[in-house]
Amino acid sequence: MIKKLLCVIVVFALLCGCAGSTPAAKSGFAPDEEHRLVVYTSHKQEVWQPIVREFERRTGIWVDVVYGATSELLERIERESRDVQADLMFGGGVESLETYRECFTPYTCAGADRLLTQFRCADGLWTPFSALPVVLIYNTKLMEPGLLTGWRDLLAPELQGEIAFTDPSVSGSAFTALMTMLCALPGDRGENLRAFAENLGGVQLDGSGAVLTAVADGSATVGVTLEETALKRIAEGENIAMVYPADGTSCVPDASAIVRGAPHEENARAFIDFTVSAEVQRLLASQFCRRPVLEGVDSLPGSPALDELPAADYDLELAVSERDAVLMSWAFYLVKSEA
C-alpha cells in the first residue's frame, strides 16, 4: 500500500517535472565552431570594440571577448592550460607575455617583414600591436612648465607624496614604467627603487586610469603613465601636460599572442593578421593615440616621431627575469616608507 502511494507520488513528481521544464529553446542562430574566436583582452572597450566588429564584418567570425586586467587574464590562461578556453591574448606588454611564454605558441603574422624592426619578436611568440612610450604628466595649475623634465625629478624631496603611480604588480604598464625609470636613472638600481618608493609615501593607485584622474583633480602633482592615456586625457581638456623624460623613456609595445592549444587557432591567426593590417594600424594613430608598429603608417599627428624620443637603455630580458625580485623589493620598500 505504501509502495503504491510512493509510486503515485513519483508519477506526480514526474508529471510536474515535465510541466516544469520548458523545452530548451536553444537558438539555431549560434555560429558553428569554425566561425568562433575567443579573445582575452586587456584593451579597453573603446579600443577592442571597433577592431573586433570590423573583423567580424570582414571574416564572418564571431568573436567572444573577455575583458580583464593583463595579469589577471594571463593567470587565467595559465590556469586553463589543461582545458584551453582562450584562443588569443590581445593586449598586455610584451614583458608580461614573455613571463607567461609557456602558455603561448609562436606565430609569424602576414606582413611580418613590414613591422618596425625594434618591435619585432625574435621567436614570433607575440606580434606587436602598438607602441606605448612611458611619459610623465603634471597638473598645469599646480606646477610651472619646465620644472618636470625627467625621472630624476621624481626622486626629489619636494615631490614627496605628490606622485601618482599605479601598483606595478597589478598594472603591466606601471611595471614597464618602473623598469624604464630604473634603466634610465644612473646609479644603483636598488637604491633608486628604494628612493622612488619612499618618495611615493606609501601611496600607490590600483589602476592606470587613476593616475590621470589623480593628477587632473590635483590630488597629485605629477604622475607616471603611458603616452596614449595622457594624450587622450589632454585631448579631453584636462589640466594636464605631458613630458617625455629627458633621461630616457622606453617604448615597449603591447602585443597579441596565440594561446597554446587554442581551439580556434586558424581564426586567431586571422585576427592577428588583421591587428597589424594597415587599416587597423592607421586607426591606432588616428583614433586611439597609439603609435603604430607598421612601417609606412603615419605616426601620431602632432607628436615627435619615435626616433626623436629620448631613449632609455630598456632591457626587456632584465624586465622579464627580474620581475619577481623587483616587485618583491618594491613591496618591501613601499611598506617601509609607509611606516
Binding site: 503515485v8 537558438s27 566588429r53 564584418r57
Partner: protein, 568 residues
C-alpha cells in the same frame, strides 16, 4: 521470510480512499498544468511571431525605399558628378536628392560622400562626421561589395547613428564617384518601428554578430545584449536560468539584423507557484476527507464487530447471559442476531445438562439412602441365621441368609453386575417371598448361556419382579413370574419380566416414560429402573409395559448388550 507488515482495517480503508481520490486529482492537476502551459506558451509564441513579422515588414518597406533612392541616385548623372566633384551647394542637387529619397527621409538621413570619404551633401543638418574612412566600416563594406550594404556603427553615442547603409556610386567610367550613406538614428528607428510590435515587450535589433544596434530602452539594451550574445555562444537557452523573460528571434535577411522581442514570461514563477499551491491544497483536502470518511466508515463497521468480539469473549469465559443490542438491519445486524440465538441455544443445552445431572444425583442419593448402615444389618442377619439354626428354625435361617446376600449385593461398590449374578440375587429375593407367601409364587429364569456375562446396572430386575409380585399377583392363586433374557442381533438386550396376574391398566401400556409423562402415577420401583436406564444409556432405552395376550403383564427392560471388559 520477513513478515509483511499488515495495516489495520482502518489503515487499509484510509489508503484505499486516498488512492481513489488522490491519484485522479494529481494526474488531473499535472495534466491541466501542462496543457495550460503549452497553450499559453504557444499562443504567446504565435503572438510574438506576428509582432516580429510586422516589424520585419516595416524594415522591408524602409529597405525598399532605400534601394529605390540608391538606384535613382546612381542613375542620375548630375548627382553622380556632384558626389564626385563637390562644388558649391546647388539647390538643384538638393531638390533632386529630396525627390529621390522621398518619404524615406522621415526615418533616415541621406549623405553623399565623395570617393575619398569627404561628406558633400546631407539631407539633414545635424552633426555628422565630415570624413569617413573608405577602408573601414560601412564605406569599406560598400567598396568591397556592389549594391546597398548595411552595417552597424561602432561608436555608440547619443548623437551618433546606430545603423548605416551605404552604396558605392559608380561613375560612368567605372571608377567610384562617391558613396551614398543612409544613417538611421535612435529617433529614426523609433519612428519606423514604434507601434509595430505592440506595447507589451521590448524590441531589440542586433547586428549579424549579435551586437546591439537598437533597443527601445537603450539602458536595458546595454546590459541585455552582451548577456544574450554570451548565452547564444554558450549554447544556452536565450530565456536564461531565471526565466522571467521570453525571447523571440527573427532574422531580417536584407539588413542582416536580428529582431528580438523580449516579453515577460507568461507562465511566471508566481503563476506556477499559485497553481501548485491550489493543487496541493486540493490534495490536502482529499487526504482530510479520506481520513474522515475512513474513520467514520470503519467506526460504523467496527462497532458491531467489536460488540460481537466482546460477546464471543464473554461466551468463552462462560457467561451465557450475553445479548447483543439490535440496531441495524444489514448483514452485520443479522450476524449479531444469529449470535444471540446461538448463545440462547447453548444456554438451553447447558441448563438441560445441569438438570440431567441433578436428576441423576437425586437417584443416587435415593439409592444411598437405601444402603443405610448396611453392614450393621448384614452382621445382624448373620447372627440371626446362626441363632435360628441353633434353635432349629430353618425358615428364619434361610431368610436371614438370603437377606444378607441381597444386602451385600446392594452395598457392593460396583454399579454394574453380570446378569447371572443379578438373577441369583433375584432367586434369593423370590425365596424370601416364597417363605413370606407360603410358596404361592413360582419363578422361572430363562437366561441363555451366552448372555449370562452381560453387564447390567445392578438391582434393576428386583424392582420389576417386586412390582409384578406386589401388584400383578396380588390375590392371584398359583402366581407365576418369568424372567426371560433375549438379545437381538443389533446389540439390544431385552429382559422381560412377565406374570400371570391381573394385568396392567390399559393407560400404562407402552413405553413407561411416555405413560409417566402423560400423567399416570407410576410405581416408584419402575420409575427408578426406567430413570437408571435413561441416565446410563440415553433416551433410546428404558422400560416397556404391555399386557400379555393370555392375561397378566409383561415388563421389558431394553438396554444395550455390554460385556465385562477383561483387560487382564
Amino acid at each position: 521470510m520477513k513478515k509483511r507488515p499488515t495495516l489495520s482495517f482502518k489503515g487499509r480503508l484510509f489508503a484505499a480512499f486516498l488512492l481513489a481520490s488522490l491519484v485522479p486529482l494529481l494526474i488531473c492537476s499535472a495534466m491541466l498544468l501542462q496543457i495550460f502551459r503549452l497553450r499559453m506558451t504557444e499562443a504567446d509564441a504565435v503572438d510574438a511571431r506576428e509582432r516580429l513579422g510586422s516589424v520585419s515588414a516595416a524594415l522591408d518597406r524602409a529597405c525598399g525605399g532605400f534601394a529605390a533612392a540608391a538606384e535613382s541616385i546612381q542613375d542620375n548623372a548630375l548627382l553622380l558628378s556632384a558626389a564626385a566633384g563637390g562644388g558649391p551647394e546647388d539647390t538643384g542637387i538638393y531638390s533632386l536628392l529630396f525627390e529621390y529619397t522621398g518619404s524615406a527621409r522621415e526615418y533616415a538621413r541621406f549623405d553623399l560622400y565623395d570617393a575619398q570619404g569627404q561628406r558633400r551633401y546631407s539631407t539633414r543638418s545635424g552633426p555628422a562626421p565630415d570624413t569617413l574612412p573608405t577602408d573601414w566600416g560601412v564605406l569599406g563594406a560598400a567598396a568591397r561589395q556592389d549594391g546597398l550594404v548595411f552595417a552597424a556603427c561602432d561608436s555608440s553615442g547619443g548623437s551618433a547613428p546606430l545603423f548605416q547603409g551605404a552604396a558605392a556610386l559608380a561613375a560612368p567610367g567605372g571608377d567610384t564617384a562617391g558613396y551614398l550613406v543612409i544613417s538611421l538614428y535612435q529617433s529614426d528607428f523609433h519612428t519606423l518601428l514604434e507601434g509595430n510590435y505592440g506595447s507589451q515587450g521590448t524590441l531589440l535589433l542586433l547586428d549579424p554578430y549579435w551586437r546591439g544596434v537598437y533597443c527601445a530602452q537603450p539602458a536595458l539594451g546595454e546590459t541585455l545584449v552582451p548577456e544574450l550574445r554570451s548565452r547564444l555562444l554558450a549554447g544556452q537557452s536565450l530565456d536564461g536560468a531565471q526565466g522571467d523573460f521570453l525571447y523571440s528571434v527573427q532574422l531580417h535577411p536584407e539588413t542582416g539584423l536580428y529582431l528580438i522581442l523580449q516579453r515577460t514570461q507568461v507562465f511566471t514563477r508566481e503563476t506556477v507557484a499559485l497553481l501548485y499551491t491550489v493543487s496541493l491544497s486540493c490534495a490536502l483536502a482529499c487526504v482530510l476527507v479520506s481520513v474522515l470518511l475512513s474513520l467514520s466508515l470503519s467506526r460504523q463497521m467496527f462497532r458491531p464487530i467489536a460488540q460481537l468480539r466482546a460477546g464471543i469473549h464473554e461466551v468463552e469465559r462462560g457467561n451465557l447471559d450475553v445479548s447483543l443490542a439490535q440496531q441495524r438491519g444489514d448483514e452485520l445486524g443479522e450476524l449479531s442476531e444469529h449470535f444471540n440465538s446461538m448463545v440462547a441455544a447453548l444456554k438451553h443445552n447447558q441448563e438441560q445438562l445441569i438438570e440431567n445431572q441433578r436428576e441423576l444425583n437425586q437417584a443416587q442419593i435415593r439409592m444411598l439412602q437405601a444402603q443405610l448402615n448396611p453392614h450393621f444389618l448384614c452382621n445382624t442377619l448373620d447372627t440371626m441365621k446362626w441363632i435360628s439354626k441353633i434353635n432349629k428354625v430353618p425358615q428364619v435361617a434361610l431368610m436371614s441368609t438370603d437377606l444378607a446376600d441381597i444386602l451385600r449385593f446392594c452395598i457392593s461398590p460396583e454399579e454394574f453386575a453380570p446378569l447371572v449374578r443379578e438373577t441369583e440375587i433375584l432367586q434369593r429375593y423370590i425365596e424370601i417371598h416364597r417363605i413370606r407367601l407360603s410358596g404361592a409364587v413360582s419363578f422361572d429364569v430363562d437366561l441363555p448361556e451366552e448372555l449370562a456375562g452381560c453387564l447390567v446396572p445392578k438391582m434393576i430386575l428386583q424392582p420389576i419382579v417386586e412390582n409384578a409380585i406386589l401388584h400383578g399377583l396380588d390375590g392371584v392363586e398359583n402366581g407365576r413370574v418369568e424372567v426371560r433374557v433375549t438379545s437381538s442381533g443389533d446389540g439390544l438386550l431385552r429382559i422381560s419380566v412377565s406374570d400371570n396376574g391381573r394385568g396392567l391398566p390399559p393407560e400404562m401400556e407402552g413405553a413407561y416414560r411416555k405413560a409417566v409423562r402423560e400423567g399416570s402415577s407410576g410405581h416408584l420401583g419402575l420409575y427408578n429402573v426406567d430413570t437408571i436406564l435413561l441416565k446410563y444409556y440415553g433416551e433410546a432405552f428404558g422400560l416397556e409395559l404391555k399386557n400379555r395376550p393370555g392375561g397378566g403383564a409383561e415388563v421389558t427392560a431394553k438396554l444395550p448388550v455390554r460385556r465385562k471388559e477383561r483387560s487382564d
